[in-house]
Point group: D3
Chain length 160, copies 6
Amino acid sequence: MKKTAVFPGSFDPITRGHESIIRRALPVFDEIIVALGDNAEKKCYFSLETRMKWLERVFDGDPTVRIVKYSGLTVDFCVKMNAGYILRGLRTSADFEFERTIGLMNKAILPAIETVFFLSAPEYAALSSSVVRDILRNGGDVSKFVPESISGEIHKKKSL
Amino acid sequence: MKKTAVFPGSFDPITRGHESIIRRALPVFDEIIVALGDNAEKKCYFSLETRMKWLERVFDGDPTVRIVKYSGLTVDFCVKMNAGYILRGLRTSADFEFERTIGLMNKAILPAIETVFFLSAPEYAALSSSVVRDILRNGGDVSKFVPESISGEIHKKKSL
Amino acid sequence: MKKTAVFPGSFDPITRGHESIIRRALPVFDEIIVALGDNAEKKCYFSLETRMKWLERVFDGDPTVRIVKYSGLTVDFCVKMNAGYILRGLRTSADFEFERTIGLMNKAILPAIETVFFLSAPEYAALSSSVVRDILRNGGDVSKFVPESISGEIHKKKSL
Amino acid sequence: MKKTAVFPGSFDPITRGHESIIRRALPVFDEIIVALGDNAEKKCYFSLETRMKWLERVFDGDPTVRIVKYSGLTVDFCVKMNAGYILRGLRTSADFEFERTIGLMNKAILPAIETVFFLSAPEYAALSSSVVRDILRNGGDVSKFVPESISGEIHKKKSL
Amino acid sequence: MKKTAVFPGSFDPITRGHESIIRRALPVFDEIIVALGDNAEKKCYFSLETRMKWLERVFDGDPTVRIVKYSGLTVDFCVKMNAGYILRGLRTSADFEFERTIGLMNKAILPAIETVFFLSAPEYAALSSSVVRDILRNGGDVSKFVPESISGEIHKKKSL
Amino acid sequence: MKKTAVFPGSFDPITRGHESIIRRALPVFDEIIVALGDNAEKKCYFSLETRMKWLERVFDGDPTVRIVKYSGLTVDFCVKMNAGYILRGLRTSADFEFERTIGLMNKAILPAIETVFFLSAPEYAALSSSVVRDILRNGGDVSKFVPESISGEIHKKKSL
């Protein structure tokens, strides 16, 4: 049976931390679906189209990575995509407390789906989309923090 | 002297976790007042009336549980109700950090009132009102997570 | 029914933190049994007799506090003493993680017994028997950290 | 070379916890700049003018404390002020997790600037501006929690 | 390429928590090697032979689980067994802090080997070998906490 | 007045993490005393002489670093050395919980002495003397983890 994992998020924007977790987890799974949450209630900094375009550019050429938009419960999306695993990164114990809550609730809703965790690399342990947005808002340079293939464009975006 | 405890919250909605803590703490106290916070600034998912009605239904027939609305400081409400204790559940160390802050501040304001903690049962360790609302928003089934007596109605509520 | 709580520990030696939790919890219970663990495998700094004598001196005159030695499982001791509650203090989230493990295991072994937690007072948040022993070993003054009624003797003990 | 530290915050309002950290850190540095963040997107309870005035009153007469408004990245402000250090207090491990993220990101952006931490005094371990605002909103007395020189005025403010 | 994971431990004794993590992770890997650490310096409660025998009995009939003794560094053992992954369970944030240290050091020593984490089931969140040993030492019943196939024998062991 | 900080530890052995904290803190203080604890009760992996020699070699040529053996309470040693500060590094929230206990107790014993904390660099966030010893015991290579000037000798030491 094909081993498919879903890596859910808002990716507002995708960071080098996200990219690193996905690339390191690729050998474990036959396919990783990067699931871009389309949540009407959550106000994002970048549009859904931009976030989608960036995800596609970062994983362009990786045949085992797919980018798919979704709304609704993550476990329902897993069922729809025939995915048995949810993939998550862990940076800190604050992360862990948050992820455990989500992971245990997902398991309570649908026991068949397992969440699998990878440790963030130390150099990305303090990196998050929200930190990147904060730096952008304050006119800082985020090129070290986002994937190389989008770091040029994210700055033009900002300067508009 | 009568031992009265206040269990404060928004109960938006009440979960099986809340219900479990209250029932387990009942033998310790002569009365537990479930104190429904009426906070104009906090936007709730369910109306005050609905939350009140559900609390009353869940503890209908428990002579030592009273449901009372309140606004203002919790310690002021305790004084008004002649309650010497605040009752809280602890699920995770993130919970603990939050509850310690509240508990120590309450004690700094009014040293006579003690906060008493019970451990959440393991099966409710990841359960919270906010998780329940999140599942509802995404069209999921929350019947396992809220008290039996309201699980039917919470779904109709959602489908309206 | 009489509400009895057991406060278990090695009390090697009793600190002002222990004393504070017990005194603050007294109004909740009809009796608190300070249960001095007699664990042959654990090497203590002070003898069982000394620890016992000090506990008795500290709570001398409190008719609702009893000092009892015990060995074996704490829950078995609770059953023997007809106690429905275990009392514990919480200083930090490290404490909480430790106490949750013990508390959940005790509940798994004997569901009828509840653990009830009080928050340590801020001034005792860093105080523990092991810190007191460490200061004693290094020739420091612990009189601020142990109950007044034993602080004189603990120093003579040390100087012997 | 002059050792200058920046203590950044919203100070909405300044608490006795803030004041304590700054006074205790004064002997380490030649100058501490209390940097009042002027963030258009963040809605504050007290106006920038009021917060500024209160900071100035609290440190009036301390020749090595300066109060300066700033916007943009904290590290950029440090460069502008010729400050090599950021000063922060640590109350709890939740604090630590948050501060580590900020501190490591600041270091990633500008490695020359070091964040230096002091432990909050135990009596202020649960105190924060947000707790003070919460008490004010609920009509409580915050005079024990804010510096003496502003405690009179903060109440009149509230009663307006 | 065959996906092999190593699940290292002392298994003194194996608990239902260990068993649950291994069984849940089986679909992700082609083989899981339960690696029984043979550490001369660590004093174990049960002999290496007994621990080995119990592991073999628990996973008897699982063709994709192998039980192997090892000494030395876990990453060196992985290389020897041609295993690209280390499998670990996470119960609490204290666990996480410990596992992150080990996981990051293993990655620093041998970057090619990834640690993959699963969340402990809530009913095993407080369970550990050390708790089981503690109950045994105090004459308690551990049959709920160890795999069914060994629960009979572990008691006889104790009573000897 | 001269600003002197004490950096206490067993340094069994000194790691790159220790070295990094000390070097980064040098500009804040006029002198840093690396205080090598000579604790008869604690069994160390390397002899006091070896640990002393290594510390001296690592900071050879740094006029503002002194290496001094000490026993007794750290605060008493500070007084003796006329040092007003204790310097510590923080890696994780587990570290923080531990350091807060020590820091608050030191302040309770001697309020005049402040503990000042620096964040560990991300690449050293999982590094500790105990991890280094563990790798050595298992025949691994620790040259990446200890200061360059001692990495050659630590291996010869091991192979003896």
